[in-house]
């Protein structure tokens, strides 16, 4: 069982810091945005919906890899901005791609931990002899949830879609290794779009805009993120997760050739890297021109690291996703 191919697409529209700075009511110039976030630009979906981005990423994967789409027997689609409540976006994607109707398909609702959890689901399906060729799509358009005058999140998030093919051929060793999972719903309200689901349907009331003490404006229909609470959560859980996973795999920190964490913010990544004690050259960072694309950050980073020659066959990689939920998943793979 291996990750056979990874690719990604980004929406066409690019939003640079200069453009954002002009739109914000007060304060931040483009240099300040970069200094605070480590991000210069991010891609933003306009009319593209999740199924559009998913289909585009999948088509690119089939074109690059030469893998016949007819051989895909399961589609996993991770998103928190589905086309509809129902039907399942993965079903729409199956139809648009022309993947055989004998496949299974489902959406799963996770954010930053979505890719690594998706690998776990794929491993489970394959290990259980339920599928052989899993197409994992991690597609996110958080920018559609964000209020234009909310600097706290608008500077950070970008949109993107990654397509990953996990396959197994008889006799092939399993290169997707150990996993560690974590869930803590007590952090639910710290990264949330409060209205629009069944708990609080959208209404005139939920659309009322409120400006907070820091000058950020949003309504209950928009994304809210408590940065300090999320930061505390990551400092609390990620170092221990890395240690648990290494212990489970019988490995030490230095045995890992490259660490690819969810690309949350530069500051968070620097803090985590330092706290855990990972050398800079073994810690991958690539947010500058993409921002935080939620469940797509890790596969995008993995693909970029491959393209840059940072990963060679046999390398041990640790992938760590953490965030909204709270939810966190980590795994070790051998390339």
């Amino acid at each position: 069982m291996i990750i056979r191919h990874i690719t990604y697409i980004l929406p066409e529209k690019i939003q640079e810091n200069e453009e954002l700075a002009k739109e914000f009511a007060s304060g931040w110039d483009s240099k300040k945005i970069f200094r605070k976030t480590g991000i210069r630009s991010r891609h933003v979906a306009t009319t593209e919906k999740t199924s559009d981005l998913a289909v585009e990423a999948a088509k690119k994967l089939f074109a690059e890899s030469g893998f016949p789409k007819e051989n895909v027997d399961f589609i996993l689609l991770c998103t928190q901005s589905p086309d509809h409540f129902l039907p399942t976006t993965a079903c729409i994607v199956q139809d648009r791609l022309g993947i055989p109707t004998t496949c299974g398909a489902l959406d799963f609702n996770l954010g930053c931990s979505g890719f690594v959890t998706g690998l776990a689901l794929a491993k489970g399906l394959i290990s259980g002899n339920l599928a052989k060729n899993v197409l994992l799509l991690t597609v996110e358009t958080y920018t559609k949830h964000i209020h234009p005058q909310d600097r706290s999140v608008r500077t950070i998030f970008g949109d993107g879609a990654a397509a990953t093919l996990i396959t197994h051929q008889d006799g092939e060793p399993c290169k997707i290794g150990e996993f560690v999972f974590g869930t803590d719903g007590s952090g639910a309200n710290n990264l949330i779009v409060p209205a629009g689901g069944m708990a609080l349907p959208r209404s005139e009331e939920t659309a009322i805009e409120i400006t907070d003490e820091q000058g950020n404006t949003r309504s209950l229909n928009n994304l809210f993120m408590d940065g300090p609470a999320i930061f505390n959560f990551t400092l609390d859980t990620v170092p221990g997760t890395v240690r648990s996973l290494l212990e489970k795999a019988g490995m030490e920190i230095d045995d890992i050739d490259l660490y690819i964490f969810h690309q949350a913010t530069k500051f968070m990544l620097d803090s985590l890297r330092e706290k855990i004690g990972i050398p800079e050259e073994k810690f991958y960072f690539n947010m500058e021109e993409k921002g935080n694309t939620v469940s797509a950050t890790i596969p995008i980073a993995l693909r970029e690291a491959l393209d840059e020659g940072k990963i060679k066959k046999g390398d041990k990689l640790m992938l760590v996703g953490f965030g909204v939920g709270y939810s966190w998943t980590a795994c070790i793979i051998e390339w």
């Binding site: 304060g27 820091q214 408590d226 940065g227 609470a229 505390n232 500051f267």
Partner: protein, 75 residues
Amino acid sequence: MNPAEKTLLVEKALDTEPGTLKPDTRLNDLEEWDSLGVVSLIAMLDKHFSVRLHPDKIRALATVKDILDQMIEKD
């Protein structure tokens, strides 16, 4: 670490010019006292003093002195 050195750490975390913060400076008067500034502060306290500021403690901070009071060096 003396108070001047500690104040410098706070100034660095809050991205303010060295020498601008006084103990009685009100945090709400600082442009940099936003969620990103708070995150920088959490990181600084954790790294240098092994102190973790949780959200309810953050909300209780009013002045620079309140932050300096958290910066207790462990033996």
